[in-house]
């Protein structure tokens, strides 16, 4: 009886617990195709690791350069602002954490490796926020928390934009788009209107932000 009753409940759960909606297979395929095949098949080449690896090597180089320069910009800004306002606990602590002990350790480019971790962390945190945004905002949850996180990430985005890492055109474009979106999220107030969210979603879609960000995160984490 006990087992039967429980099995009955679980059979019911199979039909009612998080019942999957009809997926948009075509829409998902377009994004997958863009991320997996856009550059590699122009000449009939192979997909996969060779391409991803190539991108990762390029990414690694600018990530290393960016990370070092971000640290410099952050420290410069921090010291310049010391006399005016309290140092914001946004970019400075995270950079200083990365730069503290292992500063002497360098990779093949001669740049400090921990900065790569810091930049990877920034991209990962931004991706997590933007992926969670639609469902969180739709549910009206945690506006203040989202805005606070977005504000933190916005500051770090601007540090990256102020550094020579933005000399890389693709990265600069991505950072500029992230800056725009994060600024919109940071302004979200309690009880925001649906229009606010629609504007953010439109910016994300029109600029293809999430696929580009996802690719950047995957490239870095692959190494």
């Amino acid at each position: 009886m006990t087992e039967d009753r429980f099995d009955e409940l679980m059979r019911d759960a199979a039909h009612t617990y998080r019942k999957p909606p009809q997926p948009d297979l075509e829409g998902m395929w377009k994004a997958i195709e863009r991320d997996s095949f856009s550059a590699s098949t122009a000449g009939g080449g192979h997909i996969g690791r060779s391409k991803a690896r190539g991108l990762s090597l390029v990414a690694n180089r600018w990530v290393a350069i960016a990370a070092t320069l971000v640290a410099g910009v952050a420290l410069g800004r921090a010291s310049a602002s010391l006399g005016r306002t309290p140092v914001q606990p946004t970019a400075v602590p995270s950079v200083s954490v990365a730069s503290a002990a292992p500063a002497a350790r360098t990779d093949s480019t001669g740049l400090a490796q921990p900065y790569e971790v810091e930049t990877s962390r920034y991209l990962g945190q931004t991706a997590a926020l933007l992926i969670a945004l639609p469902s969180e905002a739709r549910a009206g949850r945690a506006d203040a928390q989202l805005a606070s996180r977005a504000s933190d990430l916005l500051g770090r985005t601007r540090l990256l934009l102020d550094s020579p890492v933005a000399n890389n055109a693709d990265m600069r474009n991505l950072l500029e788009d992230l800056e725009l979106v994060l600024a919109q999220v940071a302004r979200l107030q309690d009880g925001h209107s649906r229009t606010d969210i629609d504007l953010i979603n439109r910016a994300l879609e029109q600029r293809d932000v999430l696929p580009r960000l996802r690719t950047a995160v995957a490239d870095i984490s692959a190494d």
């Binding site: 409940l9 679980m10 759960a13 617990y17 999957p20 997926p23 998902m28 098949t41 009939g44 969670a132």
Partner: protein, 183 residues
């Protein structure tokens, strides 16, 4: 065309072959992602991530297990890693009323007290991640213990033990509403 042939063609850059693989496997990958997240937007993102990673790493697939098992292993990993980050942005539990609108039951469902059903759903949500994933894959999605063990990289006995623990925890949680379930 056989699956190994399709894989070889995908590795040579054949988008049509890639689409065939995607068509064959994406519905189940999406279902699994949705069951594990309870959110259509996240499930969509994670399904895309799964296939982007799968195509990027396809050369590493040796065929020791079924391609579906390999894909579902990527899915479970992608979901687990991402959900840890996503959960940081969540202050409250999922509102199950949003996820399970009234009248969404399949025709096969018998009558179950809605209060008991909701408690069960919440109890599943509250299970530790490895128990929840095992229970969802076995009892909700119908995977075998062998498949789950391969996907999660554990022994079959471990998988059975986790399922048993998960069920016991659910029954204990529901005991006040349904005393006959008490283990």
């Amino acid at each position: 065309m056989s699956e190994p042939d399709l894989i070889a063609r995908v590795l040579a850059g054949d988008r049509i072959a890639a689409r065939e693989l995607y068509d064959a496997h994406s519905p189940r990958v999406f279902r699994l992602a949705f069951r594990l997240t309870g959110d259509a937007d996240l499930a969509r993102e994670f399904t895309q991530d799964t296939f982007v990673r799968a195509f990027a790493q396809l050369a590493r697939f040796r065929g020791d297990s079924a391609l579906s098992t390999w894909l579902h292993r990527i899915t479970v990993t992608v979901v687990a890693n991402a959900m840890r980050k996503v959960k940081r942005f969540r202050e409250r539990e999922t509102d199950l009323e949003d996820v399970h609108p009234i009248g969404s039951d399949g025709p096969e469902s018998g009558y179950v007290d809605p209060v008991l059903r909701e408690r069960l759903h919440r109890a599943i949500d509250d299970l530790p991640e490895i128990y929840r994933t095992t229970l969802i894959m076995h009892d909700i999605e119908g995977y075998t213990h062998t498949e789950i063990a391969e996907v999660m990289g554990v022994a079959e006995g471990t998988c059975k033990s986790r399922l048993s623990q998960a069920r016991a925890q659910l029954r204990a949680t529901l005991a006040d509403l349904a005393p006959e379930l008490e283990p």
